[in-house]
Symmetry: C2
Subunit: 273 residues, 2 copies
């Protein structure tokens, strides 16, 4: 998917919501455990109920890997279901991978070719030759961790190198990589004041912003500091939507929660005009 197609989808749906499919057998409605593939059954119901309210889905691979082969099967079925039924949706494998050159190419093939995701999240720690193999894929997007929404972000990401925080070095250096136009960045909503500085450094890049809802981030603040004229934001919510109810009405309640956020987003998008 091209960035322009993503922007068009945002304009049409009046939403820049990304729904995180962090699907956990211990948290899904108990009646689904009787299904042959409870993880996929849950995801399918959530997708059916919310696809018109969001522009992206982001399964976190950890939740699927924890169930071994069955989990990978559910992940593969989920992405196939989205791609087949809702090809306009932007799909993100939240995998936080990264390895040396030829090995990163393998990960890129796993997520872009084998599973057919549009984007994958990548850790920048190993530098250029660990990131560029992902950037080599045309029509695909590499979402680099810059400033994450957890406490541990202060261990290294905000530490200063020559007076510049590491996460800013990541922005600066990664913009010199080949096909840097295929980069997006993860910037946590819990650190909204940092978003303004990030936006200054990468004015055109899309930012994937986790931490709205369960992690305490505020949508208005995120938009104030992070939006650019082409929107430039994908704001993620996971638990606040998908686990809003764990009864038989879970998908309908998820849609209500998604609709609430989409409504706020519509208001923010109107400010752009």
């Amino acid at each position: 998917m091209t960035t322009q197609e993503l922007i068009t989808q945002i304009q049409q749906k009046k939403s820049f919501l990304c729904i995180g499919l962090d699907t956990d057998l211990e948290r899904i409605p108990p009646h689904l455990l009787e299904e042959e593939d409870p993880l996929f059954a849950f995801n399918k119901a959530i997708i059916d109920a919310t696809h018109h309210l969001c522009v992206a889905y982001k399964p976190n691979t950890a939740f699927y890997e924890a169930y071994g082969i069955k989990g990978w099967n559910a992940l593969a079925k989920t992405i196939q279901y989205i791609n087949h039924n809702h090809p306009e949706i932007f799909t993100i494998a939240d995998a936080k991978r990264g390895d040396i050159g030829n090995t990163s190419t393998r990960y890129a093939k796993a997520f872009f070719d084998e599973l057919q995701f549009d984007a994958v999240t990548i850790s920048p720690y190993m530098g250029k030759d660990s990131v560029e193999p992902f950037l080599a894929f045309k029509g695909k997007h590499t979402i680099l961790l810059a400033l994450t929404s957890n406490e541990g972000a202060f261990d290294f990401q905000t530490q200063k190198i020559d007076g510049v925080a590491l996460y800013k070095k990541v922005l600066e250096v990664s913009q010199t990589y080949s096909h840097a136009d295929r980069l997006m960045y993860v910037v946590g909503a819990t650190k909204a004041e940092h978003l303004a500085e990030v936006r200054k450094m990468v004015p055109e890049s899309f930012l994937l912003v986790p931490g709205i809802g369960a992690q305490g981030g505020n949508l208005t603040e995120v938009c104030k500091y992070g939006m650019n004229p082409q929107v430039g934001l994908l704001v993620n919510s996971s638990r606040g939507i998908i686990y809003a109810s764990n009864k038989r009405d879970f998908a309908a309640v998820a849609a209500i929660k998604a609709k609430e956020i989409q409504g706020q987003m519509m208001g923010e998008l109107e400010k752009l005009r």
Copy 2:
């Protein structure tokens, strides 16, 4: 496996060789492609031929994920085969994972509980709450990326924070995490001179050293700078051993290559006495 059991194995086998199972359908002997599960058939033959010469196997998960469900199946069969037939062997999932707290716990369960690896490699970029969920597992080991063997290591890892290279900050800060005694570190052999400084900072930790062979590292140098009185090293070789021949004799040739390195290691271990 406890660290002491690993040390005992090293003493008994007179080896601290780790063999990387970076198994690639494009590089394995063509006759294996007729097998039902070529990835596992290759790994099984390599393990049967080399298990007495090495103390650890390290499948890199990227190579398996690239083949989707089939790849994960082959990975699961490989680790089961090692654990069942050679329970003394230390097994490392070279996965370079890392995510926020509850998500890292999922990855830890995937590799420690579901697949039953002894250790997993982790990226430090997200800090304390992304690493400690792995450290919570008793009898398991978390191998943190410190200084990797690729060119991109110079992008961020060697950049200085308050005069101290980021990779050294990673050593310093991670040693304050709960259960830091369950930490090991990745330090590339291509930067042997850095090993002396790493050894000074973490005198007792095991170091996993990739980059011997194909990537140009030198075993004598690595031992000179990196060994401690309990050995404290796992030196990895992947392609130089497993792809030494791509004919029907591949396993026998792999054993010859592994034996060469084990012979050098025996010499280095004698210097310790």
